[in-house]
Amino acid sequence: MAKSIAPLLEFLDASPTPFHAVANVAARLRAAGYAAVDEGARWDEALPDKCYFTRNGSSLVAVALSPDRPPAEHGFRLVGGHTDSPCLRVKPNAITHNNGYAKLAVEVYGGALLNPWFDRGLGLAGRVTLQTAAGAIENRLINIDKPLAFIPSLAIHLDRDANENRSINKQKELPAVLCRVTKKAPDFERVLRAQLARQYRRLAVKTILAFELCLYDCQAAEVVGLKSEFIASARLDNLLSCHAGMEALLAARAKNNHILVLNDHEEVGSASASGADGPFLHSILMRLCGGEAPLAGALSRSMLVSADNAHGVHPNYAHKHEPNHQPLLNDGPVIKVNSNQRYATNSETAALFRQVCERAGLPFQTIVVRSDMACGSTIGPITAAASASEPPTSASRNSACTQSANSPAWKTNTR
């Protein structure tokens, strides 16, 4: 395994939820000298040149300002990604039981491919909001990094059509088996309290008030393939881009005003207080510029790379790709184009990214979806629209220009 890929694999394994991803990015930024700033701190206080903000613990905006480049005059260079991935989230009344088994009730978060969630060990991680014995209300992240749950498939003998016509009822077939029940079902709060005690030895919990918890695949990220040229992992979409954006931010020389924005809730449409369709980024940029007018000036000189994954052509399903646009793994970043603005790339921004790659001696690729298939989307168009300065008619040139640059990746199963 190449040594330099190890930090990415560690980041993937240590980030089973958006909360963990943001905590890990924040820790890396602090180690590199970035100061944590409370979004609620007074606006008239001077900000460090290198700092970061978080919202909901699941979105993050990192800032590195160039001392000789006032934002209103020179704008920003922004890279955006998202911290969330489709998964199974635990329902508030978590335990259900029947036929002698206790199960965890879950709902599907985002557009998950459900079949692969069966027949593998599932861990549990996320955020618990609690009241301490001293009366304080706190958030704590937990990670039960062991296969405590399992969703078994129905045997082929009981479903002879499984390989031809399998459909999944999300309510009935996804509850994850936890254990046999002999006398009474397990108390989920006790499970959480035990984990909190393991992770936070000095924490005295009075009441667990609420939680946001996800099941996740316990199998670690790994390098695979005959030539060890592939990464197999959960949450590549979009922790790959989060990690690449973070490393790029930390490595970049201070030639511009650099922003890294990592939003939660992309997989469910981005419309939330911490999502790309919310006010988080705009609020930070306004603060950096000191008002609407200088912000408008800054945005007119700003560009954003929306970094997400592109579908590499799957050799068993090549017909699903547009014949002239079939990205290959390890052949370089992909510029995503969609004339209906599912991606915000235009000729100027595509040319810009091409220039960036060529100057660095990097290969690049381009993808367009087949004309007879629906196109996906990501935070690029949403961020561009949400950050557009007035007048809106100038958005294509005089607000945040947006580019999609992506690492190609395969789905391990098609959808």
Binding site: A2, L113, A307
Partner: protein, 31 residues
């Protein structure tokens, strides 16, 4: 994407990081 386990290229992670670094540092762009 969106499977519980996905596949990506090792080298792509390095090239994407380098491209984003180059984007951050790029000054001479006319638009």
């Amino acid at each position: 994407m969106h499977s519980i386990r996905e596949l990506a290229g090792v080298e792509d992670q390095h090239t994407l990081t380098a491209a984003l670094k180059g984007f951050y540092e790029m000054r001479d762009w006319p638009f």
